[in-house]
């Protein structure tokens, strides 16, 4: 693993140390060590089944929700182990938000979607909620499109708008980190470009980690890229994900250090 070649990261927000994830006795991904810097966009790329989404979900303990899932190694958020016994998974998820492949607005109004998190956190004053909803929708570059129909159902928005609504809902609770699991794979190029622009605008405030199947997208939006692949276990013929290379995006896409990265991104892989 050539992660050591990545230019020095001084302000680490998330860190995985020798992280392995098991589903029952199946090892889905093994020995991943990676540091995610503050204020940057980090992209995870690799083939299906290489463990990139699995690692992403470890950062806010979403894997806890999968039966039989077990984690070995450590995941640290600001040097605190998020898997230690007294850590509160809800608190972890409040600070580390998530946006999914398929936009998943609640079947409520646009306003209520964004206000949902703050309300759960105990905010009920109408004026405060309105301010947060406006700020979040502006932050997600959606305000101008929906400001006159905040009471309409979120389900009536287009796919790209729904995805930006989900981003607004995530940032309404002022997280520190946004995890994005293929947030644009169901969107057309214009909606995709909007989300990508938005990511650039908000990355100073929210550290972003994005899983993407689109290598050009990783190249366009991210500051650093991690390439994952799979290893086949010769005994069981099952595949385990590993982290191959982690470096600045510019370096990884112009002069990758590992042959496997080169083969994958140029399309010459076995």
């Amino acid at each position: 693993m050539s992660s050591s070649s990545a230019s020095t990261i001084t302000d680490v927000v998330l860190r995985a140390r020798d992280l392995s994830v098991f589903y029952g006795d199946f090892c889905a991904v093994r020995d991943v060590s990676i540091e995610i810097p503050r204020g940057e966009i980090t992209a995870f790329i690799g083939t299906s089944g290489c463990g990139k989404s699995t690692v992403l979900r470890c950062f806010n303990r979403m894997n806890d929700l999968i039966p039989n899932a077990r984690v070995k190694g450590a995941v640290e958020y600001h040097d605190i182990d998020v898997y230690r016994s007294d850590a509160d998974a809800s608190e972890v998820r409040r600070r580390i938000g998530m946006v999914f492949q398929k936009a998943n607005p609640f079947p409520k109004s646009i306003f209520d979607n964004v206000a949902y998190g703050p309300r759960v956190n105990g905010l009920h004053k109408k004026g405060d909620l309105e301010a947060i909803v406006e700020k979040s929708l502006r932050g997600a570059a959606l305000w101008d499109e929906v400001k006159d129909r905040l009471d309409s159902s979120a389900m009536g928005l287009s796919g790209g708008q729904q995805q930006r609504l989900c981003i607004a809902r995530s940032i309404a609770i002022e997280p520190d980190v946004l995890l994005m699991d293929e947030p644009c794979s169901a969107l057309d190029p214009i909606a995709t470009a909007r989300i990508e622009d938005l990511m650039q605008e908000i990355k100073q405030e929210y550290t972003i980690v994005i899983v993407t199947h689109n290598m050009q997208q990783a190249g366009r939006v991210s500051d650093r890229t991690a390439f994952f692949t799979t290893e086949v276990n010769p005994d069981s013929d099952r595949r385990t994900g590993i982290l191959v290379e982690y470096d600045t995006t510019q370096k990884l896409f112009s002069t990758p250090s590992d042959e496997r990265t080169e083969a994958y991104i140029t399309g010459r892989f076995g």
């Binding site: 050009q216 002069t255 990758p256 892989f269």
Partner: protein
């Protein structure tokens, strides 16, 4: 190894083959140009001047194909470096072709003047050395051999030394009354043209190193830049 994007990789291979063929055109042109100069063969010189149009056209077409790949295929990693390197190499080829043409034009201008054996010898030697540099650059390019490419810089130092020697011989021949000042000036620029052809071969080899390893020439440590305080490159002046 399985391969995806076969059409793209095939086009990349074709572009590479065409680049090699264009380098061969220059390798062929250098000795022909010096021969035309030494033999006063104006027919051959005219043919070469006209043929340069064809080289220029092929260079432009190749450049266009590179841009098409960049625009449509979004190459990355070694594929990207190869396309970028070829875009740069094409201009080195095109420029070297122009320099060979300039030598042919000098052949017209010195037509009818005899060159003594010492002048003939050093022109021949410079032409051969420039050709060798281009041949070595082509080998490094074809074989993606960064070490071979890196060695070409030393060969160029020898060519630079020959140029200084050539100028000395020109000055001596002029002082001895063997050639007039017009011929002396024409030969001095021919020396410069051949030396520049060598530099273009070095540039090609640097681009080979870039596409093989990602190495980029660093201006501060590049000897050809650090010598730039000396505008004369150690070339003697006329002392009259």
């Amino acid at each position: 190894m399985d391969e995806l994007r076969k059409g793209f990789h095939h086009e990349l291979d074709e572009i590479r083959a065409e680049s090699a063929q264009l380098i061969e055109v220059v390798i062929d042109a250098i000795p022909r140009a010096t021969r035309a100069l030494l033999d006063g063969d104006l027919d051959s010189a005219d043919k070469m001047i006209r043929a340069d149009e064809v080289l220029n056209g092929r260079c432009l077409e190749l450049e266009e194909r590179c841009y098409r790949l960049l625009a449509l295929q979004a190459p990355v990693a070694s594929d990207l470096r190869q396309v970028i390197a070829i875009v740069k190499i094409v201009s080195e080829i095109e420029r070297s072709g122009d320099l060979a043409v300039n030598i042919c034009k000098a052949a017209r201008r010195i037509y009818g003047h005899n060159l003594n054996s010492e002048l003939q010898k050093v022109i021949t030697e410079m032409g051969e050395q420039a050709t060798q540099l281009f041949t070595a650059a082509l080998e490094a390019f074809r074989e993606s051999d960064a070490a071979k490419a890196a060695a070409i810089d030393d060969m160029d130092s020898y060519l630079d030394g020959l140029q200084r020697h050539f100028i000395r011989v020109i000055l001596e021949s002029h002082s001895a009354g063997n050639i007039n000042v017009q011929v002396a000036i024409q030969l001095a620029v021919v020396a410069r043209f051949l030396e520049r052809i060598g530099d273009h071969a070095v540039n090609i080899s640097e681009r080979v190193r870039y596409f093989v390893t990602g190495w980029l020439p660093e201006n501060l440590t590049n000897p050809r830049s650090t010598n730039s305080n000396d505008d004369t490159d150690g070339i003697p002046f006329f002392e009259e």
